[in-house]
């Protein structure tokens, strides 16, 4: 004869399995979108260093509330609402000097970044192939400029013993080259 305790433990076990499934499912969706989420924050904040800070807070909230996420809905939309809110909270702590974008533009970009997630994703993916085509010297300079978001390009120039202007110009050229490569790659794949 089954005992009440057995029923309880079976129910608890079933709950645990269900919860584990949900967490695993959430982890998978999260992993598929974490790069996009970071790009979303960089877009709204205009600064990778600020985006890193807000990204941490957003991750904590997303994982705290993972059980509120409906897996049948769009993760990007759900996460973007939380991230957008955190961006506004963060911006309220910033001085005017640190804010090149107005609240109105941030709100516009927030909507369009979700609507045009395809654009952001395909360019991010294409970037990796294009990086392989960069000359070694350009790749080295780029690595210096992007390996630490808290290090300014001026600081990189000092580190390399080069005039800052030459680093700015070189980086403009490298970016132009990368975006041109990405455009061509996407056009050749017929995704433009």
């Amino acid at each position: 004869m089954a005992r009440a305790g057995d029923d309880f433990s079976r129910a608890t076990e079933a709950d645990d399995v269900g919860d584990r499934d949900l967490r695993a499912q959430f982890a998978r969706v999260f992993a598929q979108n974490d790069r996009w989420l970071f790009a979303y924050l960089v877009t709204l904040l205009g600064s990778p260093a600020d985006a890193e800070e807000v990204f941490q807070e957003v991750c904590v909230i997303l994982w705290r509330d993972y059980d509120k996420f409906d897996p049948t809905t769009n993760f990007m939309k759900w996460a973007s609402v939380i991230a957008h809110h955190q961006v506004h909270r963060f911006r309220r702590t910033q001085t005017r000097r640190a804010k090149p974008l107005s609240d109105a533009v941030v709100d516009l970009l927030a909507d369009e970044a979700v609507a045009k997630a395809d654009l952001m994703d395909s360019r991010r993916l294409a970037l990796h192939d294009c990086l392989k085509k960069l000359p070694a010297s350009d790749l080295e300079l780029e690595r210096h400029c992007y390996s630490d978001s808290r290090r300014s390009m001026k600081a990189v120039a000092e580190l390399l013993g080069r005039p800052a202007n030459t680093v700015y110009k070189a980086m403009n050229r490298i970016r132009q080259s990368l975006h041109g490569c990405i455009d061509r790659k996407l056009a050749s794949e017929g995704t433009v």
């Binding site: 990778p48 654009l119 991010r124 970016r175």
Partner: protein, 601 residues
């Protein structure tokens, strides 16, 4: 659209300064104004920031070792996922520790300024990551001529598959049994990502999937077409899926109802279509439309179970691979002398009756763990029902050629002295202790000729095995244990002795489908058990009696459907079988033996 429209050169100059960190405060207003009024500027900005973010992410992840945090704990089974995603940098700390470490891509890094709440979340996530790292979610349950792209990966028959594991099949066919109950047959060349026990991604190649109704939900994606629903399913489904490796895909439905989804590049659903049996849908790589056409079952390998004729000790098989409707006059399988014949077929007006018969075939096989099941199943929906089928015992027939037939004054039956015959079948009822039902073995029709009966109520013996050809009274018939409404696998081993001193040993839900020595008998009976036909009976009460996968052969594996490729015989049975069944024996009332109950699938 993936290419930004043209922004003004003024905006591009400002954007370049913004990226270099040299945008002056005096330029903020202009920069903001252009973004506000010009959609092209915003699109250019979005494209640029996506690349800027990615550059920070991937360059930070390739920082020199000195810049990398010291702590690193990558679960071995997650390595492929980590390789696919290099998302690991200081700014990914939260993701890596709180979330990504669970399944995807994170390295375990040192934590700066994490609150206590964050630390708890980290501990939970890490504990879960270690648990998931050792928990398989699927198993390769059958193979045929398989060649894997990475043989060093030790993927093969019996291999356990972990979440996020990629299977790259260069040639051959492999059957993958997910712990959710779904079964996928992958046909090489193909690449399949096992996301978890309920979700897979076909990157290229083709597969056929069977999803029993008990599975709940199961989703599989091929290119930009996804199949399945993340909701409990109302019925089973069987479908084929093709992925061209460039984003295009096809889904062909063979049974049940399937919802196919058109996805965008990010995997989000754009629209969906409901497909019925014999319908198919196709999505081309660069198209946003779904074209419908007729399904082509011949393009898919749908089962690795060989049912083409007697083989490997299997002499008779019935999988009820018939359309829904009356079972009488159906004549498939092999090893039989003729079609099914109604002996009695419920004279009441049963609402489930189809064409007057209540000995029926209905959709979907009875699912039993890793046992191969094809076709549909038999069901008796009324309460005065018996249907039988005679075995091919004639001179020169399959049983005669194998020396299994004895001739008793012109009555040819299975039961040659010194021979052993195994009979297996799946059985289920929907109401317990509800008068009589049984899987019967007869020598001629009629209750008096019932050699063996597996079920309930015969001679008032309860759930057990009875016989009209033995020396026992009704009170001494052995029990089959506690009756339940689950699918039960019954295997009867009949050893024919001289002078009609035969012994039948019965296994119910045996611990192994490969190794008989690991199985505890639940019942044993002595008598005279030669027979020439089988039948199913269902009388009185209000239950439904279902039977599926009837096999008659001369060895244990022949009737469990688990004939093993020769190359795998060197592996131990325990290695192949452990994990599918619980190891805790379950006591059986009225029996000194024990049997192992299958885990839920």
């Amino acid at each position: 659209m993936t290419r930004p429209t043209k922004a003004t050169s003024e905006f591009r100059r400002l954007l370049a300064d913004h990226c270099n960190g040299t945008l002056e405060e005096s330029q903020f207003e202009r920069f903001d104004a252009l973004l506000h009024k010009d959609e092209a500027a915003r699109e250019t900005y979005l494209a640029c920031m996506a690349v800027e973010a990615e550059l920070h992410a991937c360059h930070a992840s390739s920082a020199s070792p000195a810049e990398q945090p010291a702590a690193s704990a990558q679960p071995r089974s997650l390595e492929p996922a980590i390789n696919r995603s290099r998302w690991a940098s200081r700014f990914a700390i939260a993701a890596a520790l709180i979330g990504v470490a669970v399944l995807s891509s994170g390295l375990t890094l040192t934590v700066e300024k994490l609150s206590d709440r964050n630390a708890d979340a980290v501990a939970t996530a890490n504990a879960e990551a270690s648990q998931l790292a050792v928990t398989p979610v699927a198993r390769i349950s059958a193979t045929r001529n398989c060649r894997w792209k990475k043989p060093e990966g030790q993927v093969g028959f019996g291999a356990e598959l972990m979440p996020q594991q990629r299977l790259e099949l260069a040639a051959g066919v492999a059957e993958i049994a997910f712990d959710s109950g779904a079964t996928v047959i992958l046909e090489g060349p193909a690449t399949l990502d096992i996301n978890d026990g309920k979700d897979a991604l076909l990157l290229s190649g083709r597969l056929a999937a069977r999803v029993p109704s008990a599975t709940g939900w199961f989703t599989v994606r091929a290119g930009r077409i996804g199949v399945g629903e993340e909701q409990p399913r109302a019925s089973h489904a069987e479908f084929g899926l093709l992925a061209d490796g460039r984003g295009g895909g096809e889904v062909h439905v063979f049974g049940g109802s399937v919802r196919a989804h058109l996805l965008d590049n990010a995997g989000d659903q754009i629209r969906s279509v409901q497909l019925l049996p014999s319908e198919a849908a196709r999505v081309r790589p660069a198209s946003t439309t779904v074209s419908r056409f007729r399904a082509d079952g011949d393009r898919f390998v749908r089962s690795l179970f060989s049912s083409g004729g007697p083989h490997g000790g299997l002499y008779a098989y019935e999988g009820f691979d018939y359309p829904s409707g009356p079972l009488a006059w159906q004549n498939g399988g092999f090893g039989w002398a003729g079609p099914w014949a109604d002996i009695e077929a419920g004279d009441d007006l049963d609402p489930n009756s189809m064409g007057g018969s209540t000995n029926l075939v209905t959709e979907e096989s009875l699912a039993y763990g890793p046992m191969a099941a094809t076709g549909n199943r038999a069901i008796q929906t009324s309460q005065r029902n018996r249907i039988r089928r005679a075995l091919s015992t004639s001179v020169g027939g399959v049983f005669d050629a194998a020396g299994l037939v004895e001739n008793r004054d012109g009555h040819r039956m299975l039961g040659s002295d010194g021979k052993t015959i195994y009979v297996s079948f799946l059985q289920r009822i929907d109401k317990l202790d509800d008068v009589f039902y049984g899987f019967e073995m007869h020598r001629g029709d009629g209750n008096g000729n019932r050699v063996l009966c597996f079920g309930n109520g015969a001679d008032g013996a309860g759930y057990g095995v009875t016989s009209n050809y033995n020396a026992y009274g009704a009170r001494n018939f052995p029990s089959l244990g506690e009756e339940n409404a689950d699918v039960n696998l019954i295997i009867a081993k009949i050893e024919y002795g001289t002078g009609d001193r035969d012994v039948v040993t019965v296994y119910r839900n045996p611990a192994s489908l490969l190794d008989e020595s690991r199985c505890e008998p639940i019942a044993k009976l002595r008598g005279n058990f030669a027979f020439d036909r089988i039948s199913f009976g269902n009388f009185d009460g209000s239950k439904q009696h279902e039977v599926d996968e009837v096999r008659i052969g001369t060895n244990f594996r022949a009737v469990t459907g688990k004939r093993d490729p020769a190359g795998n015989l060197e592996r131990s049975v325990a290695e192949l079988q452990d994990g599918w069944f619980a190891t805790k024996p379950v006591g059986v009332a009225g029996s000194s033996g024990t049997y192992l109950r299958p885990l839920s699938f």
